[in-house]
Amino acid sequence: MKKYLLFLAVCFLGFVIGIVASHNRSVMNFYARPVVAQSKVLGPVSLGMKNKQDLRPTTPVDVEQVIEQLNRKATDAIRSSWVHIREAKKFDTDLPNNGVLPNGVAIPNEQSNDIWYYVDEQGMITKTVSIMHDKDGNIVQVGVGSNGTSWNSATDEVDVQNYLQLEGLDGGFLKELMWLKSFGSNPVMKSVELPNGHPGVQITIIDKFDEPLDGDAYKVPAVAIETVATFDSTTGYLISWEKIFYFQDGARRIFSQITQEVQIEPPTEEVLAYLSEKDRRVER
C-alpha cells in the first residue's frame, strides 16, 4: 500500500512539473515580458472559464456517444460519391465583418458555404471544393484540395492537401462538444420533433462565467454563453447550431447561427472548374 501511494505521489509530482513547465513562458523568454499585459491575456478571462453548475437535470445519456452514433449513421453509406453540404452562417456582432482577406474581400457576417467532398471507398475525403458567398451571391473565397495539393483563392496560396476521414456531417459539433467538456461544460440532451416530421435530438450547453469574457466581437463582456445544436435522428445530419451570448445588462445576442442541408449528388460544372483551376495554379 505504501509503495502504491509512493508511485501515485511521484506520478502526480511529475505531471504537475510538466504542466507548469509547459505554461511557464518566462522560462523561454530571454527578456522579461510586461507581466501585467501577459496576465491579462493568460488569465482566466481569455483562456478559460469557471463553469457554474447547470441546475437543470442532466439526462443519464452519454451525449458524445449519441453524436458519434449520429455521425456514423450520416456517413457510413457515403462511399465513392460526392456529398454537398449547404451551410448558411450568420453572425450578429459589433463588428462589420470577420476580417478582410488579402484580396480586399471581407469575410461577411452573413455567408453561405457550399462544401463539396468526394469520399472514396475507404471513407477518405480525396477532393474538396468549398465556395463561400456573401448574402448577395458574390464569391468571397474558394478553397480547393485534390491530388496532394490545396489552394485558397483569396490568399492565392498553394499548400499540401489534408487527407481526412469523413467522420460526420455535424458541422464540427462533436469536436466542439468534446472541447467544451474538457473545460468542464455539461451538455444536456432532449428529444425534439423536427419541422420535416423526423425525430431529432437537441443538445444544449450553458456556461456561466465568474469572470466575464472580453473578446473581439462585442464592446461589452459576456457573462454566459449558450450553445444549442439540433440533429436529425433519421439522417444523422446536423440541422442547426447556435451560440447565444448573454451580457451583464441582461441583453442577449445570437453570436453565430448555422443551418445545414446535405445532399448526396454529383458536382456542378463550377466545382469541376475549380478543381482544374487549382491544378493550373499548382503548375505555375
Binding site: L6, F7, V10, C11, F12, L13, G14, F15, I17, G18, I19, V20, S22, N29, F30, Y31, R33, P34, A37, Q38, V41, L42, S46, L47, G48, I85, E87, F91, N98, G99, V100, L101, I107, N113, I115, T128, S130, Q141, V142, G143, G145, S150, W151, N152, A154, T155, D159, N162, G171, G172, K175, E176, F183, D207, L213, G215, A217, I225, F255, S256
Partner: protein
C-alpha cells in the same frame, strides 16, 4: 530496492512528459533571437486556446533601449483545413515604439468556427532598428483544435 528506484524514476519522467504534452496542447510559442546594431533582440509570438476564444500576442524585446522596436505587420487568422478557407482574418498595420526596450500587443478573438478542425495562426514581421541597422525578422506560430 534498485528496481523500485529505477521504476520510480521512469514513472516520474513519463509523468513530466505527459504533463508537458497536456499543458502544451492549449498553447504554442515561437521565438527568434538576433542582434541589431550589436544589441541582442528577441521576437516572439504566442497563441493560446480557451473554451470559447483564442488569445494571441506579439512581443519584440531588446537588451537595452533601441531606436525602433515593434512590428511592420501582424496577421492573425482562423483557418479551416477541411475546406481550405479562412473563417477569420485580421491584419494589423505596423506599429512601433521609439527609444524603448520592448513592444507588446495582444488580441482575444472568439472562435468563428470551421466545418471540422481549426487552426489559429499568428504571423508577421517584427521591427528592430539601432545604429545604422534595421531588421525585420519573420515569426509565425499556430495552434489547433
Amino acid at each position: 530496492m534498485k528496481t523500485t528506484a529505477k521504476l520510480l524514476t521512469m514513472i516520474f519522467l513519463l509523468s513530466i512528459f505527459f504533463g508537458l504534452s497536456v499543458g502544451s496542447v492549449l498553447a504554442s510559442q515561437k521565438d527568434w533571437y538576433g542582434k541589431v546594431g550589436g544589441v541582442n533582440v528577441h521576437a516572439s509570438k504566442w497563441v493560446g486556446l480557451g473554451g470559447y476564444m483564442w488569445s494571441t500576442d506579439l512581443y519584440s524585446g531588446a537588451a537595452q533601449n533601441i531606436n525602433i522596436i515593434g512590428y511592420t505587420y501582424w496577421t492573425i487568422g482562423e483557418y479551416c483545413p477541411n475546406t481550405y478557407t479562412w473563417a477569420y482574418w485580421k491584419q494589423y498595420p505596423g506599429d512601433y515604439k521609439a527609444t524603448s526596450s520592448y513592444y507588446y500587443t495582444a488580441a482575444n478573438v472568439y472562435y468563428r468556427g470551421c466545418n471540422g478542425i481549426s487552426r489559429y495562426w499568428s504571423l508577421g514581421n517584427h521591427d528592430f532598428a539601432y545604429g545604422n541597422q534595421h531588421i525585420y525578422p519573420y515569426v509565425s506560430t499556430y495552434e489547433r483544435r
